[in-house]
Assembly symmetry: C2
Homo-oligomer: 537 residues x 2
């Protein structure tokens, strides 16, 4: 084999995020970037101005002694300055750490110190939060307020700096973004997105079988930019030169509707709660949606009701699945052609699935021994993933986060069918493992909650001398309900496989909810750990 560098070559072209904003400014420079601020005012700028501000920021940061690899944080909702901050920080090779204001003070102090953030770009509404933490965070040198005109404000920080900066003068594998997962157990962990992983994730998600984004679109990320890389939408909008609409902190139904209609939004993405708000507003007001064509739903499972309600408005819902560790898109719900050809009713089970994987993602389900399970739509296993935008090692972690085969175990559990559709059945830590069978706690809960008298249900696995674990169901009844345990048992027997029916049902006044708004199953498991100790049931 001859020396590679003497036989011919294609051009080197580092996969760096500055390419996106350069492309947007050069070829789509006058396309608007619209923001709503905290006070509700809507203002517009352009990709060209965003690029200019980003370059000025790179100069300002360099002048403050920020070097490639340093962490510079943002604590802000979706807005034009936040977008410019991303590109300015990443463009000069620093790492943009998106702080999540919904974390607890304790968590924020931990991650700021863990990341040793030097500067924070923050919305004014979060300044009191930073002031509260600042004494405990010695690495913070400066706080710049994005929506303030004064000496601590964004304009002052950029003042005097030019808009020429030679971006991308570094290896494509350096860190670009940093995002911590709260986790329901243990300390938050940071995922360090690289320039390359962000570039490739962007190209992957704009394709027709994922987000299907082009210059034709007007994109509204209703997901905050601090949530899992903003689902990649800011990069995607710049890469295709689409108009970008940023809702600030106002994602209630009325505000969202107003912005969608006013700006002609065609594609939007967010968690189910946000969409329920919008649909509720539409129902109450009797208003109609205009240009909106596609809504991407992720972060939590999308309900059938949501899909049907949007369909009545002529909007297609696409389910997404992902997580911070995978940049974040792992599967997309764009229907296969054979599914799309079905009557709408028959499409529902496929549209409720979490979707299919795209080129760049390798997905599998595995048993406890790490052996791949069949893609038959029935076998339930740990969902494992590898690809160019999947974590290898958490920020400053000693160990790598992948198994011997190079797969990251997502902590989700589910099935994959013959058509490639993946369906999440549970979180791994909540799955009940009984006599070799995996029982979905979510299935039990959904079945129980289909009973009109049940307000909330929580299913947990409790140690059992014979079966390893057996399901136990905790039920909080609705105020006026008069329901017996046997009534619920009968219902569950109709809906679930025999071995999945809980051995016992306990009525409780309250089911404990954790800091992230989810049922605190860890506490429940501790409380009821010896319930089946006798093996009597």
């Amino acid at each position: 084999m001859e020396e590679l560098d003497t036989i011919g070559a294609m051009q080197s072209w580092s996969l760096t995020t500055d390419k996106f904003i350069d492309h947007a400014a050069r070829w789509h420079g006058h396309i608007p970037v619209v923001s709503r601020n905290h006070e509700g005012q809507v203002s517009g700028t352009t990709w060209q101005h965003i690029r200019s501000d980003a370059a000025r920021l790179s100069n300002a940061l360099a002048a403050r002694g920020i070097r490639p690899g340093d962490r510079v944080a943002t604590l802000a909702m979706n807005g034009a300055e936040h977008v410019a901050a991303w590109f300015g920080i990443m463009g000069m090779g620093a790492i943009c750490h998106t702080l999540n204001p919904r974390f607890s003070d304790e968590q924020l102090v931990y991650i700021i110190n863990h990341a040793t953030d030097r500067i924070i770009f923050a919305d004014r509404q979060f300044v009191p939060l930073i002031e509260r933490l600042r004494a405990a965070c010695s690495s913070i040198e400066q706080v710049v307020v994005l929506d303030e005109a004064g000496p601590d404000g964004w304009a002052s920080f950029l003042d005097g700096y030019g808009d020429r900066y030679l971006w991308g003068q570094f290896d494509e594998n350096i860190g670009a973004g940093l995002c911590y997962t709260s986790g329901t157990t243990g300390l938050p962990k940071g995922v360090l997105y690289t320039q390359r992983s962000n570039y490739l994730h962007t190209l992957m998600i704009i394709q027709p079988d994922s987000f299907d984004l082009g210059a034709k679109d007007v994109i509204l990320p209703a997901v905050p930019m601090f949530h899992a890389n903003g689902w990649g939408l800011v990069f995607a909008a710049a890469a295709v030169g689409a108009k970008l609409v940023l809702p600030g902190s106002r994602v209630d139904g009325a505000s969202l509707y107003d912005l969608i209609e006013r700006e002609g939004v065609t594609a939007s993405a967010g968690v189910p709660t946000v969409w329920l708000g919008l649909l509720g507003y539409l129902e109450k007001s009797g208003k109609k949606l205009g240009a909106l064509k596609r809504v991407y739903v992720g972060g939590a499972a999308c309900s059938e009701a949501l899909i049907r309600a949007f369909a009545r408005h002529g909007v297609e819902v696409q389910h997404l699945w992902g997580m911070t560790e995978i940049s974040p898109v792992g599967t997309s719900g764009r229907p296969r052609p054979d599914v799309e050809a079905m009557p709408f009713e028959d499409q529902i089970p496929y549209r409720l699935a979490q979707g299919r994987s795209m080129i760049g993602v390798d997905l599998r389900i595995a048993d406890d021994g790490g052996r791949e399970l069949p893609r038959d739509g029935k076998s339930v296993g740990a969902i494992q993933i590898r690809g160019h935008s999947v974590v290898e090692r958490y920020f400053r972690a000693g160990d790598i986060a992948v198994n011997g085969d190079g797969f990251f175990d997502t902590g989700d559990v589910g099935t994959i069918d013959e058509q490639g559709y993946m369906r999440i059945t549970d979180r791994a830590k909540d799955v009940i493992k009984s006599g070799g069978e995996w029982i979905s706690s979510v299935d039990i809960e959904n079945s129980a909650m289909s009973h009109p008298g049940v307000e909330l249900a929580a299913a947990i696995g409790v140690p059992h001398p014979k079966w390893n674990e057996r399901p136990l169901l905790l039920v909080k009844l609705a105020d006026t309900a008069d329901v017996s345990a046997s009534g619920i048992q009968n219902l569950l027997s109709e809906k679930l496989a025999r071995w999945a029916v809980p051995d016992a049902i306990i009525f409780v006044d309250e089911i404990p909810i954790g800091a992230t708004g989810k049922i605190d199953k860890k506490l429940l498991r501790a409380t009821y750990s010896s319930h089946y100790e006798s093996g009597a049931q």
Copy 2:
């Protein structure tokens, strides 16, 4: 800055072409790949079988002593075995050299020796061609016939080899494909596509603003796989898991129509000649197109008549521009949203443009001094390009092929307008440079040929003592025409800028045509070099 490899990382995921076929086989394994052979028979296989054959081929090649970096050639039309050969050769790290059977014997001998091809996979129809050349090509160890059952055939070559092979065990920057440009001057030059450049080109062209390809599509590449990387369509089809339809050597109107209708083709790509054949067949037969939605036209300028004729059939024409050196797509004609909102008539000038650049391509026009010219739709300059899929150095060339700014000069000349649309006006070597103005030879020829009496026209630049060059027009009249030079001059004066009107018109019986079917302007320039010597005109 801390050591990068200790602070966190995303997974390494080499950008290699085996990822495409693995993805297709795993997630779209039963999707058909349909081929028509030289005898006209249509047969089907699947992505899973293509992958299996490709892996068996990798094993067979390795057993024959083929190592990564070695050149293995193909001399074949579009068919399933040819596709499997591509993936098998590239998957094991060898370089797949696509030989063009339309090259002259002399050219083929030169490029086979230049590439030192060791094995050739060929269609049976090209075996006599190889036999003719073989004595002059000592590097060829074996010829394997793709469509033959005997001992020299594809099946025999794979016989006994298993379908497991650990692909992609190499750096993503190694060569994957090799394609020679014939060039109208000098020796053919080889472009060495790398694994990485092919991967990135694929992600770039499947996006909505380029080819817009997904699992929904049935793709028919009417462009041969040996033409400029097959326009990237084989990789793209595998990457999105689309059904692929391969027409073999039959791209006449009737055969193409039959295959398009039979297989439900939604998207196809080819040169204008192919589409004129299909449209002619439709007109003659009165037949209608069914599923076909988009046709990509490249390789030569697309006419207004072609766009209108396809529009009448409900098919959208998208203009493409590219060349072997850029993998090959440089611009795509997907309309901007503001253009798409126009009445169809107003869209025509935009649809006739060569298109816009996508992320991954940096395009500019430059003057003789290499200074960038304004994107105003008027300034005419050399079209220069850089990006991840653009040549840096030709195969085994001593010099690099890019200028000091890292741009490759395409040899095309044109304009870029404010909306980003690029329009080719001429080939650089044919542009007439007169007194500081650039005059398009193509414009003069088109104007002259709009005269009903003119059968063929050729405009060339001839040295001129005062203006450096002045245009000279050669005209071949139609048999029955009675036209005077002043009649043509008057017509040109109406259509062209004053300085672009040729100083002289010469009537000739024949206009010389070169080996590639184009007017031999080099010969014309030599013949008429002293026509304006006196400076009299």
